[in-house]
Amino acid sequence: MSVKSRNLYLIPYAAWIVLFVVAPIALIVYYSLFDIEGKFTFSNYSDFFTPVYMRMTLSSFWYAFLITAFSLLIAYPAAYLLTRTKHKQLWLLLIILPSWINLLLKAYAFLGLFGTYGIVNAALETFGIGRQQILFTDFSFVFVSVYIFIPFMILPVFNALEKMNPSLIDASRDLGASAWTTFRRVVFPLTINGVKAGCQAVFIPALSLFMITRLIAGNRVITLGTAIEQHFLVTQDWGMGATIAVFLVVIMALIMVLTGNRPKREVSR
């Protein structure tokens, strides 16, 4: 392929990268070097390594991990079953569709569903379990987060499963492997790239969730995203907010490198 054709594709994309990726990152790094009074300093970075922010980072990771794990646990079978349905593309679209309804509205709906006098509690009571506090707990936070992220997990897993050759399963079963062995040794390894992509698509945004932390978790969960929002919108300490953002970008880069799954392929000629 000639250099010319390559450049043609690259021009608009590179322009986008420079304008909307490099420039904002540069701005964020620049802002992270100033304290709240506009003085040049590295103190934001040393502040980040204080117990408050370290605890926040750890709890963000823990919740992001939980959210990713549960998303995968629920999404994988769902994606698998979707590939077996008749109008699978339609069902897939219908999985994405709920995310077109405004998130804030859905959060309010969850407030109504999970409330002390909400529908879920009414159901629990009729089953004789009795009213529980669902709202403002870890459970409701993880549940709603998984709800939000599940399409982003189903989509790549679905695509990976679609790519898989179904005769491989038959072959495995014919050779006497159990369903579990077939899954563990054949299906899962073949779809590992989709799983990785899904985990990336869920884990990294889950680190920086906000709004849900207030609406559904009642600020019982504080993530790095909440802190950034606070610093940008309330304290107006853009320096500290930008510093946390820099860390998130670095963490993101690390995760991408660690789970890097660019399939090895021949570069033509």
Binding site: Y9, V22, P24, G112, F232, V249
Partner: protein, 272 residues
């Protein structure tokens, strides 16, 4: 086909999918149910009314905002799809792995950055460039944050396409543009559709970025709902969401079946 195995697990597996769908749609049905509530709030269903639907159609400002939101969503996802496909092709064409990974890393920055940061940095950026806040700034911002998701959706399809195909086409005398329009684009079409729909999703769902970069009376639905929520959400917003939801579901199903009649359904033609 492995139809035997499917029929064995039929009941159980369908139950699982049904459960997933029920949970996914539960909040939406909840919103819809209360859009008929004469009580005026999202609790204590008092009686049936269509009052909120009337209110939606009487509220011109709300209708303008809905149209604005749709315009932004459609334009930004179409333009970002074009840009994203070009981007995926560009990444694919780059020969050095290092450069490729670097491009991908840059690509993913916006996907993983918290909305607040994107919004704030775009606000500063637009102010520096001197773009007036309003339609243009919102459109640019939406295009900007939708491009990477399109790239992510298209790239795997490009990569799974073996390069021998392209070589074969070239050897058979196809011009470069023919290779693109007759071989590559049809092959990656499912990826392009997926990218377009994801971009649409991101755009319709976005609140934080728009909140920062909008101004001068221009508003999208998410921002408007957020500011109206201060006094507790009016049920006319529920009514509006119900209408939008019905509209999209008809659109999606209609599109799917029209498409299926005319062509093979998108995505399935990829399998050999």
């Amino acid at each position: 086909m492995a139809s035997q195995r499917i029929s064995r697990g039929w009941k159980w597996s369908n139950l699982y999918l049904i459960a997933v769908f029920v949970v996914l749609y539960a909040p939406i049905f909840f919103l819809t149910l209360y859009s008929f509530n004469s009580g005026g709030a999202m609790h204590d269903f008092e009686g049936f009314t269509l009052e909120w639907y009337k209110e939606v159609f009487a509220d011109t400002r709300l209708l303008i905002i809905v149209l604005n939101t749709l315009v932004i969503a459609l334009l930004s996802s179409a333009l970002s799809t074009i840009l994203g496909v070009l981007g995926a092709l560009a990444i694919q064409h780059v020969r050095r792995r290092r450069t490729q990974n670097m491009l991908l890393a840059f690509n993913n920055v916006l996907i993983v950055s918290p909305d607040v940061i994107i919004g704030a940095s775009f606000l500063i950026l637009f102010t520096i460039i001197g773009i007036k806040l309003g339609f243009v700034s919102v459109l640019l911002a939406h295009i900007a944050f939708s491009v990477p998701i399109v790239v992510i959706m298209v790239l795997p399809k490009l990569e799974e396409m073996s390069s021998t195909w392209i070589d074969a086409a070239r050897d058979l005398g196809a011009s470069r543009s023919d290779v693109l329009t007759k071989v590559i684009l049809p092959y990656i079409r499912p990826g392009i559709f997926a990218g377009f729909f994801m971009a649409l999703t991101y755009s319709l769902d976005d609140f934080a970025v728009t909140f920062f970069v909008t101004g001068n009376g221009y508003s999208t639905l998410a921002v408007e709902i957020y500011s109206r929520a201060r006094q507790g959400i009016s049920l006319s917003i529920n009514a509006l969401s119900t209408l939008i939801f019905l509209f999209t579901i008809i659109l999606v199903i209609g599109y799917y079946f029209i498409n299926q009649r005319g062509n093979r359904p998108p995505g399935t033609e990829v399998q050999q």
